[in-house]
C-alpha cells in the first residue's frame, strides 16, 4: 500500500460514528488532565487503557492518541494563565506565556498555541507516514557518544536559554545539576546525597520541582503584590483572537518548532521536553524579534508548544518502525496493541497494515479534535483569570499539593514542593532565571548516564564522545553558536552604538 492509499484506508477506518466519538472523548479528557498540575498524559492514558480493551484496536488507539494531544495542549494552559507548568514540557511556555497573559493577551496566546499544536502535529503526521521505515534508523545510529554530545552540548547552549546575565543562567543551572544527582545513581545504583532519608533515594520528582519553583513561587509573588498594592490582581480580558501582527509573527516559529519537534521525537529520551527547550533556544538565536523573547513575545510560546506536539507525534516512529517505545505514553499504546495480539515492530506494516494506518489516521483525527474542542474553550479558560485572588490562589495551592501528593502518594513530596517553592521565590527575587534550573535537572542524569556508558563501551577511550560524524556535527553546531554569541558580545562592546549591518 502506498502512503496515500494507506492514509485513505486509515481515514475510512477513522471516520465512523464511534471513532469520532472516541476521539472527542479522548481529547476532552486529555485537555482536562493536562490542566491539572503534576497529572500528566501518562496517568490519563493509564486510566483510559481499560476502556479501550472493550473497543476495537483502531477505536482504542484513536482515543489514546486524542488524549495524548489533548494533554499536551492542556498542560500549556496553566503555564500560560498562572505561570504553573502542568509538566516539564510546558516549562518554557511559562516564560513568555505568562508575561503575555499579564499584558492581557491570554486568549490570543491560547489560540496561537492551539493553532501551532495542530499545525505541528499534522505536519509531523505526514512525516511519520512518509518516512517510518527510513526514520526508524535514526534511533539506531544514536549511541552513548552521540547522546553525550547532544545532551552535554545542549547544556552549554541552553545555559543562555533565558534573558539576563550569564551568571543569572549559569548558577541556577548548576543548582539544577546538583539537584539531579540526588538519589540512586542510574548506572550502578549507588546512593548519593540522600543523607539517610529514604524518600530521597528515588531522587526529586520533576513535576514536583516544576510546580514548586514556578507555581508555588508565583503564588507567593502574587500575594506579595496584593499586599503592596492593596488591590486585587488586575486581569484584563481584551480580544480573544490574536491580532494580525501576532499571527504574522507566529508563522516562522511554528514552522521551526515543527521541524525541531519532529526530529526530537525520532530519538530516544524525553523528547517532548527536550524539544521545547531546543525550540525556545532556537527562537532566541534566529528570530527577528529575539530581543523581545523572554519579555512576553508570541514566538517564545508558539515555537515550544508546536514542538512538543510535533514530538508527541513523531514519537510514534520508533514505536511503529522498531517496536521500541521511547516514552511511557507510547508504551501504553503498545499495550493497547498487544491486547489485540498485535506486536509492533519492523514487520507491523506488512503483517498488520490496518493497525498501522489506523494509528496514522488516529493522529490526524486527534489533531483535528484538539482544535474542535479547545478553540471554543479558550473563552472559558481566560475567564478563570477573573476569579478573585482569594479564591484562585488557594485553589492553585490545593491543586499543586494534590498533584504532587498523587505522583507517589507521598507527603514528603508535598514538603519538597513547599521548599522548592521557597527556592524558586528566592532565586527570582535575586533576578536568577528558573528555566536553566529545570534544564539542569532534566539533562544532568542523561549526560552522566551516556558519559559512563560511553566509557564502558570504548573501554575508557574518551574519543568515543567526538569520534562519530553525528557527534562531530553536534559539537560543530555548539561551537559555532557559542563562538557567534561571544563575537556578537565583543562586537557590541567595541561598537556600543552601531549594530545594524553584519
Amino acid at each position: 500500500m502506498d502512503p496515500i492509499e494507506g492514509l485513505l484506508y486509515g481515514l475510512s477506518l477513522a471516520f465512523t460514528y464511534q471513532n469520532l466519538l472516541a476521539a472527542f472523548a479522548g481529547a476532552f479528557a486529555g485537555t482536562a488532565i493536562g490542566v491539572l498540575p503534576g497529572f500528566g498524559p501518562t496517568a490519563g492514558l493509564a486510566l483510559l487503557l481499560p476502556f479501550t480493551f472493550a473497543m476495537g484496536p483502531s477505536t482504542g488507539l484513536i482515543m489514546m492518541a486524542s488524549m495524548l494531544y489533548g494533554a499536551m495542549y492542556g498542560g500549556s494552559t496553566t503555564a500560560i494563565l498562572m505561570n504553573m507548568p502542568g509538566e516539564a514540557a510546558s516549562v518554557m511556555t511559562c516564560i513568555d506565556g505568562y508575561k503575555l497573559t499579564k499584558k492581557g493577551r491570554a486568549g490570543a496566546v491560547l489560540f496561537i498555541v492551539a493553532a501551532g499544536s495542530f499545525i505541528g502535529g499534522t505536519i509531523s503526521v505526514v512525516g511519520v507516514m512518509l518516512f517510518v521505515p527510513t526514520l526508524a534508523e535514526l534511533a539506531i545510529i544514536f549511541g552513548p557518544g552521540e547522546f553525550f554530545a547532544l545532551t552535554a552540548g545542549g547544556l552549554l547552549l541552553l545555559s543562555r536559554i533565558s534573558a539576563g546575565t550569564l551568571a543569572a543562567g549559569l548558577l541556577p543551572m548548576a543548582i539544577g545539576l546538583l539537584l539531579s544527582t540526588v538519589g540512586q545513581e542510574a548506572v550502578s545504583g549507588q546512593y548519593r546525597f540522600t543523607f539517610g532519608v529514604n524518600d530521597l533515594s528515588q531522587g526529586l520528582e520533576l513535576a514536583v520541582l516544576a510546580v514548586g519553583i514556578y507555581g508555588i513561587a508565583e503564588v507567593m509573588f502574587v500575594v506579595e503584590s496584593l499586599a503592596s498594592q492593596g488591590k486585587p490582581m488586575r486581569v484584563r480580558v481584551r480580544e480573544m483572537l490574536p491580532t494580525r501582527e501576532e499571527i504574522r509573527r507566529s508563522w516562522a516559529p511554528i514552522g521551526r518548532g515543527t521541524i525541531v519537534g519532529f526530529l526530537f521525537g525520532l530519538i530516544p529520551g524525553p523528547a517532548t521536553t527536550l524539544s521545547t527547550f531546543t525550540a525556545y533556544r532556537l527562537e532566541k538565536a534566529v528570530s527577528k524579534y529575539k530581543d523581545e523573547i523572554g519579555e512576553g513575545a508570541i514566538e517564545g510560546v508558539a515555537a515550544p508548544e508546536t514542538a512538543n506536539n510535533a514530538a508527541a507525534t513523531s514519537l510514534m516512529v520508533p514505536l511503529l518502525g522498531l517496536g521500541i517505545p521511547f516514552s511511557s505514553a507510547t508504551a501504553l499504546m503498545l499495550g493497547a496493541m498487544m491486547v489485540h495480539n498485535v506486536q509492533p515492530g519492523p514487520l507491523l506494516m506488512t503483517i498488520h497494515p490496518e493497525i498501522f494506518w489506523a494509528v496514522i489516521a488516529s493522529m490526524f483525527v486527534g489533531n483535528i479534535m484538539l482544535v474542535v474542542i479547545n478553540v471554543p474553550m479558550i473563552g472559558l479558560w481566560v475567564n478563570m483569570l477573573r476569579i478573585p485572588a482569594y479564591i484562585l490562589l488557594p485553589t492553585i495551592l490545593m491543586m499543586a499539593v494534590i498533584g504532587s501528593y498523587s505522583l507517589r502518594n507521598s507527603m514528603f513530596d508535598v514538603s519538597l514542593l513547599l521548599v522548592l517553592g521557597i527556592l524558586g521565590y528566592v532565586l527570582r527575587k535575586l533576578d536568577f532565571q528558573l528555566a536553566p534550573l529545570v534544564v539542569g535537572v532534566v539533562l544532568g542524569p542523561m549526560i552522566e548516564k551516556h558519559f559512563r556508558e560511553g566509557l564502558y563501551m570504548s573501554q575508557g577511550d574518551l574519543s568515543v564522545f567526538w569520534g562519530s560524524p553525528i557527534a562531530v556535527g553536534i559539537w560543530s553546531v555548539v561551537f559555532i553558536v557559542v563562538a557567534l554569541g561571544l563575537m556578537s558580545r565583543l562586537w557590541k562592546r567595541i561598537f556600543p552604538a552601531g549594530e545594524g549591518e553584519g
Partner: protein, 322 residues
C-alpha cells in the same frame, strides 16, 4: 449515550481514587482502587514486556485497574527500592528478576534490601534464558567463529547487557574463564531495549538479551541469534548453538518475581497469590509465555522465598569463585 455517561462517571471516580482521596476506603475489599505495578527496567525490555502482560491479566482476575510504571536504573534496584519503601497496602507491587532482588544486594551493600526478609515475595512467575545476538551482517556466521575471533583478539568482543551487575555480567565473566577468552560487557542501564539498539547500531559486537527484545529483529533480518545461554536446543532459535553444551554450566537463568513491601496484610497477600497463580497457570499465559520463550514456574510466597534464598547462596559462591 450510556457509553459516554458511563465513561465520565467512572473516569471521575478513578481520578478521585488516584488522587488518594479514597484510600481510607481500603481493607474491606482489596482491591478497591487501582494498583501500581512497578517495572524496574526500561520500556521494551523483557521485564517490561512480561510485566505488562502480567499486569493486564492480573487486572482481569482482580477486577481492578493496574497501572504499569517503568522506573529503570541501577539494574532494577531503583524501582525495587521504590516498591519496598512504599506503603504496604497492596496498591504498589513490583515485578522484577533475580538480578535486582538477589544479585544486586550482594554487590551493593548500601541497598535497603538484603534478603527476602526485607520484602514480601508474592509469586514466582517463571524464568527465561538469554540469547547472544549479533548483527545479521556480522562476519561471524556461527558461535564457533565468534569464540575463535574472541580468542585471537582479547578485549575486542563487546557484549551489550542491560546494566551493571546483571546476570549477563556474571555469565560473561564465567564464560571468559572457562573458554579462555576476554570479552567485555557494556552495560546499558535502560535495559534490554537499549542494549539491543547498541548491537543494531553496530556500536558493540554482540548483545546478550531476551527473546522478547530480539526475536522481532531476527525475523526482520537485522539480527542473528548466534547462541543461547542454556543447555540443549532452543525452542525459538533451534539453529543457535548452546553455550552450556559447549562450555559446561555457564549460564544463569533470569527468574521473575512478583513482590511487594514487607508488612502486606494477609488478605492482600492471599488475594495477590491466588490471582497471580491463576494467571500463571492459565492457557493464555502459557501461549504468551511460549512466544516470549518464558517458562512458567509458578510458586507461592514461601516456596518463592526459599527459591530466592537458594539463589542468594549460589550467587555468593559464584562471586567468591571469581
Amino acid at each position: 449515550m450510556t457509553f459516554l455517561a458511563n465513561l465520565s462517571r467512572r473516569g471521575l471516580l478513578s481520578v478521585i481514587a488516584l488522587l488518594g482521596l479514597a484510600h481510607a476506603a481500603h481493607a474491606q475489599t482489596y482491591p478497591s482502587r487501582e494498583i501500581t505495578l512497578v517495572i524496574p527496567f526500561g520500556i521494551g525490555g523483557s521485564t517490561d514486556i512480561i510485566g505488562r502482560q502480567l499486569a493486564g491479566d492480573l487486572a482481569k482476575v482482580l477486577g481492578a485497574k493496574i497501572n504499569v510504571e517503568n522506573k529503570p536504573g541501577g539494574t532494577g534496584t531503583i524501582g525495587s527500592t521504590q516498591v519496598i519503601q512504599s506503603r504496604p497496602d497492596g496498591y504498589t507491587i513490583g515485578f522484577v528478576a533475580n538480578d535486582a532482588l538477589v544479585l544486586q544486594p550482594l554487590l551493593n551493600p548500601a541497598l535497603v534490601f538484603k534478603s527476602p526478609d526485607d520484602y514480601q515475595p508474592i509469586v514466582k512467575m517463571g524464568y527465561r534464558s538469554d540469547v547472544l545476538y549479533v548483527r545479521a551482517d556480522a562476519p561471524w556466521k556461527t558461535y564457533d567463529d565468534f569464540v575463535a575471533d574472541a580468542k585471537r583478539n582479547p578485549g575486542k568482543m563487546r557484549i551489550a547487557i542491560p546494566g551493571v551487575g546483571t546476570l549477563g555480567e556474571l555469565t560473561v565473566q564465567k564464560l571468559n574463564k572457562v573458554a579462555g577468552v576476554r570479552m567485555v560487557t557494556v552495560p546499558f542501564s535502560g535495559g534490554g531495549a537499549e542494549a539491543t539498539l547498541a548491537v543494531l547500531g553496530g556500536r558493540v559486537e554482540a548483545s546478550a538479551g531476551s527473546v522478547s527484545v530480539g526475536a522481532g529483529h531476527v525475523a526482520a533480518g537485522r539480527l542473528r541469534a548466534l547462541a543461547v545461554f542454556q543447555r540443549g536446543k532452543h525452542a525459538v532459535f533451534p539453529e543457535a548453538a548452546s553455550i552450556d553444551d559447549a562450555h559446561g554450566d555457564v549460564s544463569i537463568l533470569a527468574e521473575f518475581y512478583l513482590f511487594g513491601p514487607k508488612g502486606l496484610p494477609k488478605d492482600v497477600i492471599d488475594k495477590l497469590v491466588a490471582a497471580a497463580t491463576q494467571v500463571g497457570r492459565s492457557e493464555e499465559w502459557a501461549a504468551f509465555a511460549q512466544k516470549q520463550d518464558f517458562t512458567p514456574d509458578v510458586k507461592g510466597p514461601d516456596a518463592t522465598k526459599q527459591d530466592l534464598l537458594k539463589q542468594g547462596k549460589d550467587f555468593a559462591e559464584r562471586l567468591a569463585d571469581k
